[in-house]
Symmetry: C2
Subunit: 329 residues, 2 copies
């Protein structure tokens, strides 16, 4: 949520030149994204002003993954999905490098899309997000590139193991027991034979731009990977259908999200049946990274870690047999 | 350099509505300004897209000063100075409030201007900045509002006194002695009878938007006040005519800046003669706030304090009799 790299106007102008998108006329560092530096820039191209997001990838993004992320945007945009296109430089490359040696960093220039990230979604908005998610699942079927999910069940086990029972209990006295039970359930019940493909894997409201009930942009594909499509539905469900702190389930959003998804891509009976366990997995995934960050963020860090309990509450909700009917299975 | 206030899209849309500037279609928190929260927003107004900076004033800005700052922008913009206009809401007010009680904050909607802040100014750019500074000095003559300079000589004495000789020497062994000598010089030699008026008082490159050699926007008037006009020339000189760390004086920029200023508003002989001592004052002013922040910023603060020595070096340069001719007196 900051700008880590300093980039002078002169250097930025020279970078923009190489993309052939006009002359730089404005650049504002924006407080967006967790681990990269971003600027909203404007260029003058003949008579028209054009806008872009310039991203400099900081150390947390593996540069070897960039072609997957950036090519995916181009693939989806070409199939009319609401995602930003990437600009290619004069040599046809989707990303370039600045700096030298240890300080070398990759950057990309990505189309700016209008829209705002909603804080209090309506059912109409949840329905539209469900439909947009199904659209990228269908459109990526012929993408042809793959990327393993680096945050899969073994990774959750590892992260939560690193937290340790004592660490988890320092967050909440019951958390160690909850995690142990749920990791056991997931290890036994995680489905294997469901349709797989390219998933967004992090479709929180922050990563969706909307105008009214219309999705104008799905953004921040930096967790995108190859995994079960229905798991992406479960992640999006966990991200949209609760109050931020996880205390309140919103059945209207839940119904609208899955209906919106199925209007574009109906779930198979096996996928539908697996949604409860996939949702428990989705809750564990965010609980795992948040608990790890909670225990490992230095006191003087620039970023305040997010509350892991918000996802422990979702996990308890999904695990409660009384709620097994929410996915209509 | 951050966004301190959380503002949901729904709340922001409602705020924008009250300004009658169209419908909100985009909002990005921007990393600009030291102590306020800023968003670059876009609205759709009929066929045309419009852009604004939405500023929420955090606790460091005294709300009773806002009419001075915002009315000044309107006054200068109406006289064709390159400053952003403020939008007025349906009741004609230049600022509104959000929140209640302790959490009540003021906000304003300010015109977006194109341009970038240069990092390596050229003589042509320094000349244009000098001219723009003179333009606001002339245009504010009939402004009719006043605001005392809260960072004047007594304030520098206070801040540096609070640092203490020991504190200053912890920054640099010679700093206590330098400060003592210079405060003595300023107390004896500070001019009184020079032309006064409204000054920007903080015209660093960060606060100037440019396209090539053209000034498209002077921004961030939150130190603007009533003081000696030639002191503003001295501040701008200290801000533009050295390498950032203060080790390198740039005579070409110095000449261009003062020439540009005088092409619009010639200095009086008394002003010209006072420039060396005013420049020492300008260097002490930034040395004082930086030294104070250096010694009083908690280790875990979000903001890294700026190096006070960058202005101690400028101060030594200005105080050196060998450099007394740089202002052509």
């Amino acid at each position: 949520m900051a700008v880590y790299t300093r980039l002078g106007a002169e250097e930025m102008s020279a970078i923009v030149e190489t993309f052939d998108v006009g002359t730089l006329i404005s650049a504002k560092g924006i407080a967006e994204g967790v681990s990269n530096s971003n600027w909203l820039i404007e260029t003058q191209h003949g008579e028209s002003a054009r806008r872009f997001i310039l991203t400099v990838y900081e150390s947390r993004t593996d540069i070897s993954d960039l072609p997957f992320f950036l090519d995916l945007l181009d693939h989806l945009a070409a199939r009319d999905c609401p995602v930003p296109r990437t600009m290619h430089d004069r040599d046809g490359a989707s990303h370039r490098f600045i700096g030298e040696g240890e300080g070398r960093k990759a950057l990309a220039l990505i189309e700016f899309l209008p829209g705002v990230s909603v804080s209090e979604p309506t059912a109409g908005q949840a329905r539209a997000v469900g439909a947009a998610l199904a659209q990228i699942h269908l459109a990526s079927a012929d993408f042809g590139q793959a990327r393993a999910n680096s945050l899969d069940l073994p990774a959750w086990q590892q992260l939560l193991g690193d937290c340790g029972a004592e660490g988890l209990e320092s967050i909440h006295p019951e958390l160690g027991r909850l995690v142990e039970r749920e990791l056991g359930v997931l290890a036994r019940e995680w489905p294997a034979d469901l349709p797989a493909g390219v998933i967004h894997a992090d479709l929180f409201p922050d990563n969706v731009l909307m105008l009214g009930n219309k999705v104008t942009g799905l953004i921040d594909f930096y967790f995108a990977c190859t995994d079960l499509l229905a798991y992406d539905v479960a992640v999006t469900h966990a991200a949209w259908c609760f109050s931020t702190d996880g205390t309140q389930f919103r059945p209207d959003l839940s119904l609208a999200l899955t209906e919106g998804y199925e209007a574009v891509r109906p779930l198979t009976p096996a996928e539908r049946e697996s949604l409860p366990v996939l949702a428990r997995g989705a809750a564990v995934r965010f609980l795992a990274t948040r608990a790890y960050d909670w225990l490992n963020t230095p006191e003087d860090a620039l970023v305040t870690p997010k509350d892991p309990m918000a996802f422990a509450r979702r996990l308890q909700f999904y695990a409660d047999p009384a709620n097994s009917g929410i996915f209509g299975a």
